[in-house]
Symmetry: C2
Subunit: 467 residues, 2 copies
């Protein structure tokens, strides 16, 4: 006879009865094939209602711990598998989460935006309007490539801002460029060799490696990745940042662009991924035209993101596929759901369409121009001014300085780290040690506190002067 | 001498001058090494300002079409590559976008939610509050696995709703389960063999195939995937839906669960992916406990989504990793950015935390229970009632009917398609034709118009009765 202490029950009684019987079955106190007491007897003996026992038995049946034979009653099921499992639980909860960012009071190493620059009030207004006016569109599953409204808004923006002529159906929206790289790998092939720039954005190599992709490095000269290096790499795909290379800041000149296009055009299956991550922030003149724009052979896949231009915490990026790849995308990959929420797709579409995005970019360009000038002035006036050269660069959210020091770059970085200042050297972005990058450091100015910069310059000066 | 028709200029004059010179260089009208007129001469001869010419030349220099020699002037750069490109543009804009859903007046084949059920006003309120109160958190880059607030809210929900004890750090948030499958493949390995259920959710096979993964099919019996089939498949990973299998509706009984766990535990590197996509919608009794909950050997990866419980257009899913896999995830993959926007992560966290999610689910369960009962009543009272058997099923957003007909399933589907009714057969979810599934059809009731159902039953009856 089952006897449980019903005083111990917390929550509904049926759940308690269910739990007790289940545990007895798991522990083997109740054996396979054993008959359970009838609902009535069980309920009567314990002074609880038959319904309670019925519910408990029903739950046990639905989970398969108990079975019932018509007109004969309830029996314990055979759960053989459990005997083949180890008795001692092997579950650990010892999880090592990577540390939150270390404590630096000044950080020149990241190009995140300053949160104060996010257009909160406009975004809030457009979100509100989207929710109240678009309720039916919001619930309609977006096509794989994204909602037509957002793709159209992006196409319009690219036309007026970058002089690019793009069919909205060539655009694929995704939750971040990292996600889109994964889609591209599926589209172009796991068996291809992808060539990335050396030096270059380190995450790319990691992403390709984690996808088990053969990834090679193409050396750069002062015009960008070298066609010779591409040839040597045996790569089919060149993944490059021609508008504004990170970290060198190089803008690939026209001559090199045509050479790279010619390379792609020489063999079937060759493509160029043009990563245009911060092209909005060219601080003077017209934006540099894209490789995509001068490609007449369907060889360039263009990628861009709203992470730099709006916020990294709104995960919206896009790629533009040449028509034949767009067709292959629809043929093979259109079963995928779009990874960006409709709510934000429609909000962003309105943000672009109503002209707020252009205004925002113009405002940010002024802001960055000012930041840059102020910071350069501070450096020049500080003791560091005599000990460093600021390299010319007309774009983006960072510039390079060449320090006049006898210390190794690592030493400089370590010394500054001890003082709570974070800075990266260009050398860190090379695959192997490189002489040309010696003493070159990256100064990101997108999210710095200008009031601290005099002190920062002082500390850098100290660090490079110490023996 | 350069002569252009300056009357034709649209937009800024410098851009026009730039464009004209660039075109002449590309076309070869201006030869590499050719000297351009001095700014002053060019400006004077054409009656435009020197600054305009200066700006045009600067843009040409920054793009690399022109170079300058100090004190000597401006020269046309060599763009050799362009001669290696074909003269005729090969760009096509002929893109074949898959058709929008075909025109059915009644669709029993999809389990999307009814848009009217989305809690718009609460969601709008919480979005508003998030934007106004969390501006600094919204701008802070979320950890790879998602914001702690959302992971904590999910852990709390799972504890009270599913009896699962989960450390928030085991949870990884992503923009949809399809995206998370891709992350899992990177975590578990491209070289593994993944076994999916036959019959089963068709998209899974497509996803594995597009990732170039060896994917095998494990046959099911009435208790779910068979351990024998798993053994035979040589798979290391079993990807299954034990709570409520689609399309059969099978809930895996305890005995089978322990057998599958024992299978996983027999060899190192074996894992079970538990896809719990609609577990919230068990219409009676307690929710079925998860496999993850009874796993004492760190063999189960649990996955769930808010697509079914909230809306498919809000792209938020999550997976729960056993501790050792969580550690490997952090070690190898934590460089990835989280794919879900902070705005929606914080909104959803509050939605769960403030109890709205539980209320919403309870409301939806009542709604689905009513829909289901009404639809069953309509079927039973219609002429179809005599010609079909409704299979018992206590969960989810669909049930199965077995039609009493001499027609093939395909014939039935085609006849109904012609009448504007969409329905799927269970047979479609098998890899190869299967006798057991004959005449079994899927009736999704999550988003149907009940007023049409009498007519739908009538039409199905007609279709199966015709010769």
């Amino acid at each position: 006879m089952l006897t449980y202490d019903f005083q111990k029950a917390e929550g509904p009684m049926y759940a308690y009865v269910y739990q007790c019987i289940k545990e007895d079955i798991i522990k083997g106190n109740l054996q396979p094939g054993e008959k359970l007491p009838s609902k009535r007897t069980f309920a009567h003996n314990n002074g609880i209602s038959t319904i309670t026992i019925q519910n408990a038995y029903d739950q046990l049946i639905s989970e398969g711990y108990v079975y019932t034979l018509p007109k004969r009653g309830y029996y314990v099921a055979k759960i053989e598998g459990i005997r083949r499992l180890p008795k001692e639980a092997g579950i650990s909860l010892d999880i090592h989460v990577p540390e939150e960012k270390e404590n630096y009071w000044a950080d020149l190493s990241n190009n995140h935006m300053n949160p104060d620059n996010f257009p909160f009030s406009v975004w809030a207004k457009l979100s509100r309007e989207t929710i109240s006016k678009k309720s039916s569109e919001l619930m309609e599953v977006s096509p794989t490539g994204g909602t037509f409204e957002l793709r159209q808004a992006i196409a319009e923006h690219l036309k007026s801002f970058r002089g690019m002529l793009v069919d909205p159906n060539q655009i694929v929206i995704g939750a971040g460029t990292e996600y889109l790289y994964g889609v591209l790998i599926q589209l172009l092939g796991y068996d291809k060799n992808y060539c990335i720039e050396n030096p270059g954005y380190q995450k790319l190599a990691k992403i390709y490696q984690q996808h088990q992709i053969t990834c090679s490095y193409g050396d750069m000269d002062e015009e960008g990745i070298m066609p010779k290096a591409l040839e040597k790499s045996k790569a089919q795909i060149a993944h490059i940042c021609p508008t504004h290379h990170f970290p060198t800041g190089i803008t690939m000149p026209a001559s090199r662009r045509y050479e790279i296009l010619a390379w792609a055009n020489e063999k079937e299956g060759r493509y160029i991924i043009e990563d245009d991550y911060d092209s909005e922030f060219r601080l003077s003149g017209k934006p540099i035209p894209t490789l995509f724009g001068i490609d007449a052979c369907e060889k360039v896949i263009y990628m861009n993101t709203f992470s730099k231009s709006l916020s990294p915490t709104i995960r919206i990026s896009y790629m533009i596929l040449p028509a034949h790849l767009a067709n292959e995308f629809y043929r093979r990959l259109s079963f995928y759901a779009c990874t960006v929420s409709n709510f934000e797709q429609y909000t962003l579409a309105e943000f672009i369409h109503q002209g707020y995005f252009e205004k925002h970019i113009n405002r940010m360009r002024l802001y960055y121009t000012r930041q840059r000038r102020q910071l350069m002035d501070i450096i020049k006036k500080s003791p560091l001014g005599e000990k460093c050269e600021i390299l010319p660069n007309h774009s983006g959210l960072h510039f390079l300085i060449k320090l006049d020091t006898g210390c190794s770059d690592r030493k400089v970085i370590e010394r500054l780290k001890k003082k709570g200042i974070r800075i990266s050297s260009v050398g860190e972005y090379y695959v192997s040690p490189n002489e040309n990058s010696r003493h070159l450091f990256i100064v990101n100015y997108s999210n710095i506190d200008m009031d601290q910069m005099e002190k920062v310059c002082e500390e850098i000066f100290q660090s490079i002067s110490e023996k």
